[in-house]
């Protein structure tokens, strides 16, 4: 095959090149010409196009994300922060944990099964590349209206893809989210989180250091799948035919990924790896440029040494391919034989494709002819845009159209009907239809999984050390106020970790937004990042990394701004975990926190009236911190039998969920206005069940932590009874809760 070599590029300086088709602007193309002092070869053009895509370069978001690291509180727990494949935090006893959440939204819309499956695969390799053993996954999913025909195509495919890949890989799926809103029709959000555990000394680096060291590509052979996934799929809004983009979606092989995980961990344990990088978006292009830019600075690669699935591929396709289940390692020459032997043991294909140099240039050859010769930093760093941003004029009208005029139930039957409607609505209904397709047991360390508030995984069998995780996002709140909405998402994830009895420790995020070229979207984004930075500073938890997903829109209508926030906590002893389920035993129920009449963006307004307007609840980060401190202390002291955070649907939904989870009813007296008490979504609240005999000790602890609280009733019986207003037998509650998703999806 004749390749477009550097020599040919110099000989044909004015040859027209398809930069626009590859997603590059004329300015960006000029910048490449300027950087190289000549036209790029077709391979170089391919490389820059994927590396400078929004997805890989964060060119529109960088100027805003820059505030996250400095705003983060100084945390001794942070071993590796923003900028690595994933952040790493110290959880004590010599263990470190790495976790990250990433989007796979567009592929999951085009081809739901493979799109969602490879989303899991990609985030798992990110965690693996840090040197950790992946131990659990979570998925935050958002779809269009549950009853829309296209949701019937997308949702079952996404769930089966996550099930297929995660189950076969042997990672327990311990939680996540499922929500529906018309704004996600045509652009579902599929965010996958993975968490991994390692010993402190196991941390790996993504850097090609040491001239003469060999570069080894291992895992799957490279094929034509996913060519341009980062640039064509992830970095442009949808329009026209979805089917035509299908070749840009990758195809996953979880069996090979399982072998790759075990192979990498054995390579790490043998000290055979100098540097390592996973291959995700932008494939070989990204791995080589980032390894080279992060290391000694130069690398020489023989592209014709890359094992291929399709022999017709040339340099541009090889560089852009997003074939799954591949890793790239830098290995000392004297250890290459050992490295290859470990790969052979695990039936993992490996090939030496180049070596580290000290030239400061990333040079790639194709049958001995140079087809790429660039300074790697120029591709790895990419352009930075200060996109215009403007608060949309309609924002004020939206804030003014609050929920106060909506008709509210005023009697027992009305309140009862609203509660049943809420817990039977698709976003709040029982999610077993989805979660029963995921393995939550594998590895044998899952202590809490969905439908609990947070997932909890045991790390050390002897000491009971564990990690808790939760993800939360609320597009409705963020649409009303992206700054406050982001802080509410952070608050909720933080609280969901706290109600397991864990101490929140660190934050990851997946920022799902519309087109950055729309100033209104950029305003939402800037506000969200500012809210996150301020929120993390106030809560004392650092952001350790994250992911930005722009262009989540079909045509001109963008999704609600939807930052999904993941919070990681450390649990000193998982045997002292708190579950949400009530148990028979006449435990006092104490409502913690302060309840105001806050219905803007609430589940009640959404489900009962299809209404979105007004202001979201006011976050109270100091109160969240006090609440978390109280819950951790009470769990450690063994004072509580159950704890559940209050969020969507307020106290009403929390009580219903806790009753159903534990198979035990409760009887409560509502303080104040019953509608507000039941359905308000004020932040920084939880309901706890206090063990008999511990009432006084808990009250004392609660006061010491400065958390307001009120005993509102007790557990027991086989109904949810609200004194003076209504009673719902558990069987009726369960029927309403469990019927929704099977009725929709079969």
């Amino acid at each position: 095959m004749t390749a477009d070599t550097v020599a040919r590029a110099m000989a044909t300086p004015s040859m027209p090149q398809p930069f626009a088709e590859l997603g590059l602007t004329a300015d960006e193309y000029d910048r490449i010409l300027h950087t190289l002092g000549r036209r790029p070869t077709s391979a170089e053009l391919a490389l820059y196009s994927v590396m400078w895509s929004e997805h890989c370069s964060y060119k529109s978001s960088k100027v805003h994300l820059g505030q996250l690291a400095p705003a983060a509180p100084a945390s001794a727990a942070l071993l590796a922060g923003i900028g690595h494949n994933a952040g790493v935090v110290d959880i004590g006893q010599g263990y470190a944990v790495t976790f990250k959440i990433e989007s796979h939204n567009h592929p999951s819309y085009v081809e739901p099964h493979q799109g969602a499956a490879t989303g899991v695969g990609g985030i798992v390799r990110d965690i693996l590349a840090m040197g950790a053993r992946p131990v659990a996954v979570m998925d935050a999913l958002r779809f269009g209206p549950a009853s829309a025909p296209d949701t019937g195509r997308v949702l079952p495919g996404v769930v089966s893809g996550i099930s297929f890949y995660g189950n076969c890989l042997g990672l327990p799926n311990i939680g996540g989210e499922l929500d529906f809103d018309p704004c996600y029709a045509g652009n579902p959000l599929v965010n996958a989180l993975c968490v991994g555990v390692m010993r402190h000394g196991d941390l790996q680096v993504a850097a090609a250091s040491g001239p003469g060291n060999k570069v080894i590509l291992f895992g799957s052979a490279t094929g034509p799948d996913g060519v341009g996934g980062a640039s064509v799929l992830a970095s442009a809004a949808f329009g026209g035919s979805v089917g035509a983009k299908r070749p840009s979606v990758q195809v996953g092989d979880p069996f090979l990924e399982k072998l790759l995980v075990e192979c990498c961990l054995e390579l790490f344990a043998g000290g055979l790896v100098v540097g390592i990088q996973d291959l995700g978006a932008a494939g070989v292009a990204c791995a080589t440029t980032e390894l080279a830019a992060g290391g000694t600075g130069g690398m020489r690669i023989q592209l014709d040494a890359v094992p291929l699935r399709d022999p017709s591929l040339g340099p541009p396709e090889i560089l852009m391919s997003e074939s799954q289940e591949r890793m790239m390692a830098v290995v000392e020459p004297g250890r290459v034989a050992e490295f290859l032997a470990v790969c052979a043991k695990w039936d993992v294909r490996a090939a030496v494709i180049g070596e580290v140099t000290d030239t400061g240039r990333l040079v790639m050859t194709w049958h001995d002819e140079v087809v790429v010769d660039i300074p790697p930093g120029s591709a790895a760093d990419g352009p930075v845009y200060h996109r215009p941003l403007a608060r949309p004029a309609a924002q004020d009208a939206l804030a003014a159209a609050g929920p106060s005029a909506l008709p509210r139930p005023a009697d027992g039957p009305g309140l009862r009907a609203d509660l049943l409607a809420l817990i039977g609505s698709p976003g709040l209904a029982d999610k077993s239809w989805v979660t029963d397709q995921y393995d939550r047991y594998v590895r044998g360390d899952t202590v809490l999984a969905m439908p609990e508030d947070g997932g909890l995984v045991r790390v050390d069998e002897a000491t009971g050390l564990g990690i808790a995780l939760a993800t939360d996002g609320n597009g409705r709140y963020c649409r009303l106020d992206p700054y406050l909405g982001t802080q509410l998402a952070l608050s909720e994830a933080y609280r969901n970790v706290a109600v397991t009895g864990a101490h929140p420790l660190a934050v990851t995020n997946c920022l799902n937004f519309g087109s950055p070229e729309d100033p209104a979207v950029m305003w939402q984004f800037a506000e969200a990042v500012r809210g996150l930075a301020d929120g993390c500073a106030a809560l004392g938890v650092p952001v350790t990394g994250g992911n930005v997903s722009f262009y989540n829109q079909t045509g001109i209508s963008a999704v609600h701004p939807t930052p999904v926030i993941g919070v990681l906590g450390v649990h000193d002893d998982v045997r002292r975990r708190l579950s949400t389920g009530f148990r028979a035993g006449d435990d006092d129920l104490v409502l913690l926190g302060r309840t105001e009449a806050e219905f803007g963006g609430s589940a009640w307004a959404h489900v009962r009236h299809g209404h979105l307007g007004g202001r979201p609840p006011a976050p109270d980060l100091a109160a969240e911190q006090r609440l978390a401190g109280l819950l951790a202390a009470a769990a450690a002291a063994g004072l509580l039998a159950a704890a559940h955070d209050l969020s969507d649907g307020g106290l009403a939904v929390a009580l219903a969920e806790s009753c159903l989870r534990g198979g035990t009813g409760c009887r409560v007296r509502l303080p104040g206005d019953p509608f507000t008490a039941l359905f308000s979504e004020s932040a920084a609240r939880a309901i706890v069940a206090v063990r008999p005999g511990s009432e006084a000790a808990f009250a004392e602890l609660r006061i010491a932590h400065g958390v307001p609280g009120e005993t509102i009733g007790h557990t027991g019986g086989d109904a949810l009874a609200v004194e003076g207003w209504f009673t719902i037998p558990l069987a009726e509650l369960a029927a309403a809760h469990t019927a929704a998703l099977p009725a929709l999806f079969g």
């Binding site: 099930s163 069996f255 399982k258 072998l259 397709q437 047991y441 594998v442 044998g444």
Partner: protein
């Protein structure tokens, strides 16, 4: 007592099976698919997972692994062997157990805590249970629908080779709600539910599964 746990490429619950062995008071021994060596163990567990990615058919490739050439004759000579989920599928493919496991009738992967009835308490792996006892153990599989021809099913019933049955819902459409069977001698048992995930109430729905492992420990002199 030493109990081997085989790791095939794609085995996932090997670590969990080893933990259950340890909790049952025995020593877990790692067996590698590519070695023709059972390392002198007193019993063997084929764990759950997706050996060879379930390619071709669940268990169809694993049955040809080198370690199986040692295991099959040993099992025929009376070595206690337990196959869990994918291990059950492999034992069926290897003809150590009758029948086959096919796609769930609902066509979806099912993870659920299930009530099971232990019907045969004479096998190497169920002696610690009482006959007809109900236990709660998780199921997690996509191809757990037990199938056999009518004659085989009748023989299994007549000879008491149905070891464990789904007590409530039949989650995958298994013939006669069969969750686990044994060979005629009772030393080889296979089941789709995962007893190794019900050894500690902290991490499972119960500790009911532990007695599958203590059954064999009590039986073999250590």
């Amino acid at each position: 007592m030493r109990i081997g746990v085989i790791t095939f490429p794609g085995s996932l619950d090997d670590r969990d099976a080893a933990r259950a062995v340890r909790l049952a008071g025995a020593e877990p021994v790692t067996l590698w698919h590519a070695d023709r060596d059972l390392r002198g163990v007193d019993a063997v567990i084929l764990p759950g997972g997706f050996s060879y990615g379930d390619y071709l058919r669940c268990g169809a490739i694993a049955r040809f692994a080198p370690v199986m050439s040692e295991l099959v004759p040993a099992a025929r000579s009376g070595l206690p062997v337990l196959g869990i989920c994918n291990g059950f599928q492999i034992l069926c493919e290897a003809h150590l157990l009758p029948g086959a496991l096919t796609r769930n009738s609902g066509l979806r992967f099912v993870t659920r805590d299930l009530r099971l009835t232990v019907e045969n308490t004479k096998t190497a792996w169920t002696r610690a249970y009482s006959g007809g006892e109900q236990i709660v153990v998780p199921l997690k599989s996509g191809e757990g629908c037990y199938a056999a021809d009518p004659g085989t099913l009748a023989d299994l019933e007549a000879s008491g080779q149905v070891v464990i049955r789904y007590a409530g819902d039949n989650p995958n459409g298994s013939a006669d709600a069969i969750a686990g069977v044994c060979n005629a001698e009772g030393n080889v048992v296979g089941l789709m539910p995962h007893p190794e995930h019900a050894v500690d109430p902290l991490t499972g729905p119960s500790a009911d599964g532990l007695r599958l492992f203590t059954s064999v420990v009590a039986q073999v002199p250590g």
